[in-house]
Amino acid sequence: MSLEPQELDDLTSKIGRKPTSTELQIVAAEWSEHCSYKSSKKHLKMLPMKGPLVISEKGYDSGVLDVGDGYVITAHIESHNHPSAVEPYGGAATGVGGVIRDILSAGTRPIAIFDGLRFGDIEKDLQARWLFKNAVTGIADYGNCLGIPTIGGEVEFDECYSNYALVDVAAIGFGKKKNLIKNHAKKGDLVVLLGGSTGRDGIGGSQFASDSLESENRSAVQIPDPFIEKLIIEAILEARNQNLIHAMKDLGGGGLSCAVSETADALSIGIEMDVNKVHTRESDMNPDEIMVSESQERMLIVTNNDKLKKLDKICKKFRITCSVIGHVTSNNMMHVKKGKKTCANLPTDVVANATLLDRPSKKPAYLKNIEKEKKLKPILDYSKMMMKFISSPNIASKIWVYGQYDHEVGIRTVVKPGMDSSVLRLDNGKFLAAKIDGNPKHCYINPREGAIGCFEEACRNVVCTGAKPIGMLDHLQFGNPENPEIFWTFLESLKGLTDFAKYFEIPCVGGKVSLYNETPSGPIKPTPIIGILGLIDKTPLYSQKITTGNCLVIIGDTKNEMGGSEYFEYIHKFVGGKCPVVNFQESKTNMNIVLDLIRKDLLKTVHDCSKGGLAVAVSEICMTHQIGCNVSLEKVPGPKLDVDRILFSESHSRYLLVLEKKNTKKLEELLKKSKASYKMIGEFGGENIRFNKENKHVIDLRVDKAQKTWFNSLRELVVHG
């Protein structure tokens, strides 16, 4: 762990002397990319962060939204990519632990977890399969033990993640507005470290996350302890109820160094602490190790002497250790001592604010010809192709994953995983829908439009349940930012997200940047992940059983936008073409009318078109409801296209609506008025999924066979290889 030479000069001139070894460790941790956002911070400011529902207060690690009646929700997203790539079980599990503590820091109870998982090609690559399997078990074991339901996420496989893993976790909290921790502290208050003991695990973790991954042995392995995390949650919430917490911060990347300096800086106070007071796992740890250890399941709390007794009692009840490690001073210094000896004494604003960089950017050379299409081999038998397609890892049902997550605990999950987005009931009678989405294949071809597409897709997913998007979380994952071409893709994505957020007035309530995601064969594809929170005032759309004679209507145009599609990449092994572009106005029109139709109770179910296009989206409805459907491809609105493009284009802003025939007239009236592009394209019934053109079945699948394949293929692949 070390500083760059110019950073060392910078530090030396700021403090006017040579830093001590402990000071160097503290600053190196805090000035790492992971903790300081030195490459990205200047640019993140462009995102709109304010809105009528957003509550912003100093020192929160998570976004806070007012959902009415005195209640708030909190949300945050994190990744744990580097640790998961070497120890998928522990890495993924501790990733969940970290994001949960961010939610807890605001004083809210965590009520849901989401996970976004990305690995190499699990069909061919045993290492990818091992990573996938163990990351899923890690998340399951951690979240299940906490009793927080994991209610959504996504899984994607792409060769760009070979020998690597992206493990993103998001969490949502819920609580009373009056119980939010109002971070404040005054001179003489006590600084308490609560939770697991500090050990040598994870030393250098945040630096590790800011280096590219080499195969060299790493000590940054963390052992998850969900049981102690559960006890911390209950202890903290009890302490919150008794008003014992003045300020609070979780320990994550950079350990005590970051938590202490950031807390002091945010509250404009100083903190004096003694490393001898930290409860450690091993007796011979030196101050430097104690300050940068990233041992999991720890929280930093500021309280006062009067409240300490009660806090101690709560900790005893929950059998967790709590040590007073220091106190608040008024001199804005972070003073670290070992007994009487000073190890570090630094101005908190110096530690907490690395010099921000303005990295050069340049449009990557690979983009020059990327939109050119190659000539594709004709598909002779679309039905056969379709069976292969629905069993492919990216299209197959993810039930093997979410079936291992307790998604019912907490008894809030009224719409369960497997739908476009899950829905939770809140204590004020409202409902919350949430989903995270990413699409590196699109983002590789066009970082700006791809990122916007992820944003729109996540919105579509919550809209399908009747929810209006009220907040966004972004997680920006890229390769080495020192490479101007990579930095350009980062900026393009960010600008795209900003434009969409502003147009739709969806504030960004939180996010994370993860850079240096490089595999042995190069950088990952640009992988922004977007999380959307949607609010439903009355009732969500509970998907109803589809019966014979029900109608299928599509909203939105299907366009010739095949670049980065699963069809091009999986079936034709071709990376290129023009990727789907969101037309903001069309997007808004379609979103609004779908919400209106749901509110008017005209629909049985709604599903959006995304990965795999229309063919996959219709099949998913049929397979989920175990009923056939006849679709006329000629009727699909949009420019005139070849059948494969109608079937598999991944154009955005498209929704499939299922309704009873008797409601079609009313529906058409409303749709006409809305100016949305739409068409009735099919009717349900029978045992086959059929896509027809000129009275021929282009695709004809038995729904039961398709369903079996779609449901089981991922498990078969993982379990029996």
Binding site: V86, E87, Y89, G90, W130, G199, R200, D201, N217, R218, V221, I223, D225, F227, I228, R281, E282, R319
Partner: protein
């Protein structure tokens, strides 16, 4: 060729915590009156039945299998292999 029993013990490397062992010690054993116990560490064991020409090659073979199939993750765990006549 002969049949051997090969026991593989998989446990966390030294310095890596073992929350399960700690819980069993603190919440079960020390809650009783068993203060003679000062530590409990958990491990997992796999017992292989293998046909090989001798003990040595049985041991080598099992080690290879454990490494190749990632029966354990060397980042976190270490293994100990013992061979017995069956």
């Amino acid at each position: 060729m002969a049949i051997f029993n090969v026991h593989v013990i998989i446990e966390n490397k030294p310095g890596i915590s073992d929350p399960e062992g700690e819980t069993i010690l603190n919440d079960l054993v020390l809650k009783g009156t068993h203060s003679a116990i000062s530590k409990i560490k958990t491990a997992k064991m796999l017992k292989f039945t293998i046909k090989e020409k001798d003990k040595k090659s049985a041991q080598t073979r099992v080690k290879e299998i454990c490494d190749e199939l990632r029966i354990y993750n060397p980042m976190v765990s270490k293994i100990t292999i013992d061979v017995f006549d069956s």
